[in-house]
């Protein structure tokens, strides 16, 4: 049985799959950015305990973290057209449901899902900032906004970074479910291609390799960024006072 597993095909079909990589990356980028912004806003609501919004955010996070992403994609894909029909019915408007590109349903579901996870990471990071340093900033006369921009966010950012990157890596793989919203990204394209060749196993091997490499690249970039932002572990050399300064001191 020489033909059971065509290892050559695993690699030769990768370029065909890579043609759909931009769709995957677009989904990831769009859902990631929207998720991050939403997540940040939700985190601020939770840290500040804004009444009403706080309670809503609790239910929101609980629901989005407590239901599978594939179910959320289906809800978005089937629910939004129904919602639009109702809006048309109530308001007499005429939104064209078929005019909405399917990719928007997928982005919406993925972004909301990301925002729930990211908001918790950001909230934890903000509350982890040393209150003593916040007091020090306040005591010197910084405005609340200056305290946030100069003390809280820079330090919370460093704390949140690994968690956010982890979430982003999860998102990349989550985009492979976007086919349920009729979006042909990399995995969906692979399934379509395999449908005609019946080489499903080879196709999934190829996909696994691509996703793995993307994740490796992201992990590498993340560790570079972490290194750049974190406080150096090594103590720097002592600054030698210049001859001029020594003279000035005497």
């Amino acid at each position: 049985m020489p033909d059971l597993f065509d290892i050559k095909l695993v690699f030769t079909q990768i370029p065909q799959l890579l043609a759909y990589l931009p769709v995957t990356l677009e989904l990831t980028a769009a859902a990631g950015v929207v998720g991050l912004i939403l997540g940040f806003l939700i985190a601020m609501i939770r840290v500040k305990r804004v009444p009403v919004l706080y309670q809503i955010s609790t239910v929101y996070i609980s629901f989005l973290r407590g239901t599978p992403i594939i179910v959320q994609l289906y809800i978005s894909y089937f629910g939004i057209p129904i919602l639009l029909k109702y809006i048309n019915y109530w308001n007499g408007t005429n939104f064209d449901i078929n005019g909405v590109p399917p990719v928007l349903f997928a982005i919406l579901a993925l972004a909301l899902n990301q925002s729930a996870f990211m908001s918790e990471i950001i909230r934890a990071a903000i509350t982890a900032v040393d209150p003593g340093q916040i007091e020090a900033a306040e005591s010197m006369g910084m405005t609340p906004n200056q305290v946030r921009m100069r003390v809280v966010f820079p330090q919370a950012g460093i704390i949140a970074l690994p968690g956010l990157m982890n979430s982003l890596i999860g998102l990349i793989k989550g985009t492979s479910l976007a086919f349920v919203c009729a979006v042909v990204e990399m995995t969906a394209a692979g399934q379509i291609m395999a449908g005609s060749s019946y080489r499903y196993f080879e196709m999934y091997c190829s996909l696994a390799i691509i996703y793995w490499i993307i994740t490796l690249i992201l992990e590498f970039l993340s560790s570079l960024l972490e290194k750049k932002l974190s406080i150096p572990q090594e103590s720097p050399a002592l600054k030698q006072a210049t001859a001029q300064e020594v003279l000035a001191n005497d």
Binding site: D130, A136, S139, M140, M142, T143, I231, Q240, A241
Partner: protein, 278 residues
């Protein structure tokens, strides 16, 4: 001159400060002593508005403020003229020593960066840490961190420097270097309000000592008088507990200062690698 009138601070039913009055002349060093939990720190923090007083007036910089209903703008004005030195240093740990001192100048006072840098360097030089300007707080000893804290506070040219137990988180050797720094700042004419449990230091540096107990000023006067001839029984009792402690310590340890102490020039740092944490 700085005037504080009728400062009251309560937490629920618990009255921490029960109407404190205090006048501080320019260049004076006023020390607050008293048992823990009697509101000394709260008093300092109320002046800086890190705590919101329930009543009281503060006159500083020629303005009189009603501390109970103070606007955001006035809060910032008061904070700018009263710099705080914290027990736990509270340096910005993601900034170097120099950046820590520059922060208030550039962000709050909007001093141009170059000028702020010069000023911050001068302040670091003043506390003897110019060579450590590029070090992050984690690379500095406790004493050095507190000296940066003092430099950071002084860089704001405060009308009043508030020192909240500045040496109580330090080991005895570091206490000395910080005390010397505070002493120097006092000699340079900075007006100070100091909370401390180091009676020897208070006696040496203060121009006036206030004994606070139960949220009230129980006794005040020149350090000589307060320490050598306390009038109230409560202060006598309080000072006696210190003497007892000092005496027992003297009994157990013949020499209070170890003789063969090797003082490292740079702090010994053992960086903890991420792998070692688990």
């Amino acid at each position: 001159m700085i005037k504080i009138r009728g400062l009251v601070k309560t937490y629920g039913k618990n009255t921490v400060l029960d109407g404190i009055d205090l006048d501080i002349e320019k260049g004076e060093v006023v020390a607050l002593i008293g048992p823990s939990g009697t509101g000394k720190s709260t008093f300092l923090r109320s002046i800086n508005l890190l705590e919101k007083p329930d009543a009281g007036e503060l006159t500083i910089d020629g303005h009189t403020y009603d501390l109970a209903k103070i606007s955001k703008k006035d809060t910032i004005a008061i904070r700018r003229s009263t710099a705080m030195v914290f027990q736990q240093f509270n340096l910005f740990k993601n900034r170097t020593a120099l950046e820590n001192v520059m922060e208030g100048l550039t962000v709050v006072k909007k001093v141009p960066r170059k000028e702020a840098r010069e000023r911050a360097l001068a302040e670091l030089r003043n506390v003897g840490l110019e060579a450590w300007q590029d070090h992050y707080p984690q690379h500095l000893s406790g004493g050095q961190q507190q000296r940066v804290g003092i430099a950071r506070a002084l860089s704001m040219d405060p009308q009043l420097l508030l020192l909240d137990e500045p040496t109580s988180a330090l080991d005895p050797e570091r206490v000395r270097e910080v005390q010397e720094t505070i002493d120097k700042a006092a000699k340079e004419g900075n007006t100070m309000l100091l909370v401390s449990h180091e009676m020897g230091f208070v006696r040496q540096i203060a121009t006036r000592v206030l004994f606070i107990d139960g949220g009230k000023v129980v006794e005040q006067g020149a350090p000589e008088q307060v320490f050598s001839a306390p009038k109230t029984p409560r202060l006598r009792e309080f000072l006696a507990s210190f003497n007892e402690y000092a005496n027992t310590e003297a009994d157990n340890a013949p020499a209070r200062t170890p003789i063969n102490v090797i003082v490292p020039r740079t702090p010994t740092i053992f960086p903890v690698k991420q792998e070692q944490l688990i």
